[in-house]
């Protein structure tokens, strides 16, 4: 009777031990995968947000159209109207030579000296603010070229240098994130591969028995593949949670900075499409890792 109870207790603790051991092991794996995937995901979000922020600031990039000196107020107004109707611009502001001179006097402090000029040397100017839909330097460049084709325009100028540089940097960063992603994806495959390898080895007796009663390799592989797939997907979900947490911690400071620039820019998370891709990638990597690990070890686990 006592030995019977003892056996029961043994089974009980054995089962309990298995339950307690397995979840912790898989939680650890999931945590490692989460951190591994969170890194490229976070960097990707950073780049996307900087890109969006630079676009928001592109709004500040104005195009100055210096018109030919013989263009009078009416002609300038007509041109301004044409531009507003035909092209993707937000606003067009006209500064007549008179206004320009007045402003120059006020700002330069050369007031009296300039009074001695017999005629106004300043050209009429249109200040064009591109529409927000023009979100790349390329599109802005195209707009400038089209503005230049107007006969009234003498010179069209857009200071794009800093925008171009930023976009160039972002391009490099994006490529860097890609390379990082590839190597970290490899890391995920190896992590899961190793976990599954240990799982396979710890169940070698079971695998041998299954082979002896006619189980195919596919049958033996299946639970391991599911384990890898689930761990990968769970790791990806946890990575998303991690990134979201970081983002929510940064939301306050980012909002404060954006307010300083009178911008309503707010950092954005992955979005449901992005989450789906992340989880899908995690699942595929997990599946791949376990497929490789099981494939490598199944052959060596023939019954003896």
């Amino acid at each position: 009777m006592i030995s019977y109870l003892l056996r029961h207790l043994q089974v009980f603790f054995y089962t309990l031990g298995q339950l307690a051991r397995a979840p912790i092991a898989s939680l650890m794996t999931i945590a490692v995968i989460a951190i591994t995937l969170a890194l490229p995901t976070g960097l990707y979000l950073l780049i996307e947000n900087v890109q969006r922020m630079s676009t928001a600031l592109d709004g500040g990039a104005k195009i100055s159209l210096f018109l030919k000196a013989d263009i009078d107020d009416t002609a300038a107004a007509q041109l301004s109207k044409r531009i507003r109707q035909a092209l993707e611009v937000a606003t067009v502001e006209y500064i007549s030579p008179k206004q320009a001179l007045a402003e120059f006097k006020r700002l330069s402090g050369f007031g009296e000296t300039l009074d001695t000029l017999t005629h106004n040397p300043l050209p009429p100017v249109l200040i064009v603010q591109p529409s927000a839909t023009l979100d790349t330097p390329q599109k802005l460049d195209d707009l400038v070229k089209r503005l230049r084709t107007n006969v009234e325009v003498d010179l069209a100028q857009l200071d794009l240098q800093w925008v171009k540089r930023l976009h160039g940097l972002l391009q490099i960063a994006r490529r860097g994130v890609w390379l990082l992603s590839v190597s970290l994806a490899l890391a995920v495959v190896l992590i899961i591969g190793n976990t599954i390898r240990l799982a396979v080895l710890s169940r070698r007796e079971e695998i041998e028995v299954i082979k002896l009663v006619g189980g195919t390799n596919a049958f033996i592989r299946r639970p391991f593949l599911y384990t890898g797939l689930l761990q990968g997907a769970a790791g990806a979900l946890a990575a998303w949670a991690l990134v979201s947490l970081c983002l929510s911690l940064l939301a306050g400071p980012i909002g404060a900075v954006a307010d300083l620039y009178a911008s309503n820019f707010r950092a954005e998370g992955l979005g449901s499409y992005g989450i789906a891709i992340l989880v899908g990638v995690g699942a595929v990597l997990g599946w791949l890792g376990s497929r490789i690990a099981v494939g490598r070890h199944l052959g060596s686990l023939e019954p003896r």
Partner: protein, 225 residues
């Protein structure tokens, strides 16, 4: 049902475990495989189940030439052979029921059929009441009967056993051997490797005796030394 023609097996390392072994078992025949320790009994059974491959010679099992059974086909080939081991080879984290169900599960049998067939097999070995028990809660004889139920649950035409009573006392051995005899009575071809001459004499079946890898006797129990 099982036919060996001049089969030899040399293990890597150069040891000849079987030398030019020939014998034949007719369908529904029952035979004992005897011989000293290291004579090659387990090796012969491993060749039949394709755990090992013959080095030379031809073996035909269940109408299939073993040299033609590819690696991919081995699982399907094994589903027609029930195997019983001296150390039972039960899975200790599964109940008796789940252990017996394993061959059906791997063969993709439907759940409702599994229940019926597992209970029929457990009933046959007299363990219907222990279906929820884990192997650790069963005696050696009971564990071996679970092993036998697992071997016969998908009604294979061939049943092999490697020293199935090696760890059991006389009374339990008798029970186990009688079970094999019962399966033989309903048409299963049975081959049992054993040291136990008492059982060989008691059941009076066809005897194959190996000595240092050679088949030195193929006949009735009386011919055995």
């Amino acid at each position: 049902m099982i036919q060996f023609n001049n089969v030899s097996k040399r293990y890597p390392g150069g040891l000849d475990a079987l030398k030019n072994v020939s014998f034949e078992l007719a369908p529904a025949e029952m035979a004992f495989l005897t011989g000293h320790s290291g004579a090659g009994k387990s090796t012969l059974l491993k060749l039949i189940t394709l755990i090992e491959r013959p080095t030379r010679g031809q073996a035909i099992v269940n109408n299939q030439n073993l040299s033609r059974v590819t690696r991919r086909r081995i699982p399907y080939f094994r589903r027609d052979i029930g195997i019983v081991f001296q150390d039972y080879k039960l899975l200790h984290d599964r109940t008796a029921y789940d252990n017996v169900a394993l061959p059906l599960v791997v063969a993709g049998v439907r759940d409702k059929d599994i229940g019926r067939r597992v209970r029929a097999a457990l009933d046959k070995v007299g363990l219907l009441k222990k279906e929820r028990a884990y192997p650790i809660m069963l005696s050696g004889g009971e564990q071996q009967r679970v092993g036998i139920a697992r071997a016969v649950v998908n009604k294979p035409p061939i049943l092999l056993a490697d020293e199935p009573t090696g760890n059991l006392d006389q009374a339990l051995s008798d029970e186990i051997m009688d079970l094999f005899h019962d399966f033989n009575q309903v048409g299963v071809t049975v081959l049992i490797a054993t040291h136990d001459h008492r059982q060989v004499q008691r059941l009076g079946k066809h005897v194959l005796e190996l000595k240092h890898g050679e088949m030195i006797n193929d006949g009735s129990p009386r011919s055995i030394s």
